[in-house]
């Protein structure tokens, strides 16, 4: 169950590529197989296959309801806790939907950040231009959907500053992200404009290393890890929900902390 449903509306080739990349990994294959069964529940109730689909639909409905509840609970003025650098988790864990050997290699000189959607200035940004923006940093807790958490220090430009700079329609509903590793996700505008939401280019005072998302990661201490895209290649503003890599498979879309 929980197979991707919105694939048709997305970059199909990118999704297929991502899927093909994962096929040689036995653990991943096992994971997907398990994902297709209801596991414990079929034992519990002896559900038939058609029941499984209606159960899945009902659960996804509740998840969408939970998106609304979280948007309502989200306080734009409330800050996530910050920590002294002495509390940073060392080494900060690497985490992705693939192993370390598949981290994308991005050439910083050729790199361009594509901008599209409901924005006034759609010119593509070079890294040099992005580094010229006012920089800030924060030490915050990264909370993974799996339950573990780790404290790290990210530096970059406040995302609201960037959105204003490109003349984004701040009344639009969503900001979407496409990444060099074919990952994709999207967030609500309220979180995009939160003071602690940073478009980051550095980790622990050094250029963001490949394993943490070179050349840039969107860092939000108010959202779970899978909502924080790495290796961002394109940013777009939209009024229709672009979904996400994990979100389309069943992870909650809002994913707020």
């Amino acid at each position: 169950m929980f197979k991707p449903k919105r694939i048709q509306t997305l970059d199909t080739q990118a999704v297929v590529d991502a899927a093909l990349k994962e096929l040689p990994m036995p653990s991943r294959r096992l994971f997907m197989q398990r994902g297709l069964t209801l596991g414990g529940l079929s034992l519990l109730s002896g559900c038939t296959l058609s029941d499984e689909h209606s159960v899945e639909r009902a659960l996804m409905k509740v998840s969408q309801f939970n998106d609304q509840v979280q948007a309502w609970l989200f306080d734009p003025k409330l800050m996530a806790p910050t920590y002294p650098e002495s509390m940073m988790t060392r080494p900060f864990p690497f985490n992705a939907f693939y192993g370390m050997e598949e981290i994308p290699e991005v050439d910083g000189d050729d790199y361009r950040l594509e901008i599209s959607g409901l924005v006034a200035d759609k010119h593509a940004w070079t890294l040099a231009e992005l580094y010229q923006l006012p920089q800030t940093s924060q030490v915050t807790r990264h909370i993974c959907v799996e339950g573990w958490s780790a404290i790290g220090k990210w530096g970059g430009v406040t995302f609201s500053t960037f959105l204003k700079r490109i003349g984004a329609d701040l009344s639009a509903k969503y900001v979407g992200f496409k990444c060099e590793d074919d990952y994709y996700t999207s967030i609500d505008m309220a979180t995009a404009l939160h003071a602690q939401t940073l478009l980051t280019f550095s980790y622990d005072g050094k250029t963001l290393p490949p394993e943490y998302g070179y050349p840039m990661k969107l860092r939000m201490p108010t959202k779970l890890g899978y909502k924080n895209p790495k290796h961002i290649s394109a940013i777009f503003v939209s009024n229709s929900n672009p979904g996400g890599y994990w979100e389309d498979q069943g992870y909650n879309w809002f994913g707020g902390c």
Partner: protein, 198 residues
């Protein structure tokens, strides 16, 4: 009071009891699968007995069943307080009574003739379940919304500790439930009472 035709458990109580059974079952089984994604201790739950198939599925179950638990729990609490059942059934409750009843039970002399009256260990166990479920909801909220509920997060000792509290509260709940099931097996008429009310 010991009239076999008198309703011991009103319909709303029986209904909320069984809805709670369903919600707790779904929450525990999916919770074990979520725990397995990043175990706090040096063990995992066998995946065959967990619910959801994978982490995403388990989370969908967990964050759906939580609404059933909370809504049902609120109905239970409000009706218990409004009807005066809470005060009538659970109080007074003294430690002395609990010890005396436990000793009587150990000697096989604890009476079950009148099931409309809870003995002291029963009162304690049921009150514990109510309070423990509240702790589970509170620690669960602290995990789910650690940024949005700072006070709750700090009360739990921070995000990571909230996970430990959530786990320990779940374990304690299951321990008391195991005891509860043993007692029901020893006095099977209590099961009929919870089904038919009389």
């Amino acid at each position: 009071m010991n009239n076999r035709d008198a309703v011991v458990h009103p319909a709303w109580l029986r209904l909320t009891h069984w809805i709670n059974v369903l919600a707790v079952t779904l929450l525990v089984l999916s919770g074990w699968r979520i725990y397995n994604a990043s175990p706090i201790f040096h063990f995992s739950f066998p995946e065959q007995i967990t619910l959801g198939g994978w982490l995403g599925g388990a989370l969908l179950w967990h964050f759906s069943a939580m609404w059933v638990l909370v809504a049902n729990g609120l109905v239970y609490l409000v009706l218990n307080l409004l009807t005066g059942r809470f005060r009538r059934k659970f109080f007074p409750l003294s430690l002395k009574e609990v010890v005396a009843d436990l000793l009587a039970a150990a000697k096989g002399r604890l009476s079950h003739a009148d099931l409309s009256v809870y003995n002291a260990p029963q009162k304690l166990a049921y009150l514990f379940i109510v309070l423990d479920l509240m702790l589970l909801v509170a620690s669960g909220l602290a995990i789910w919304k650690s940024v949005q509920f700072p006070l709750l997060r700090e009360l739990m000792g921070g995000y990571d500790m909230a996970r430990v509290v959530h786990f320990v509260a779940m374990s304690a709940l299951l321990a008391v439930l195991a005891l509860h099931l043993v007692m029901v097996a020893l006095v099977p008429r209590t099961l009929l009472l919870m089904l038919s009310g009389r």
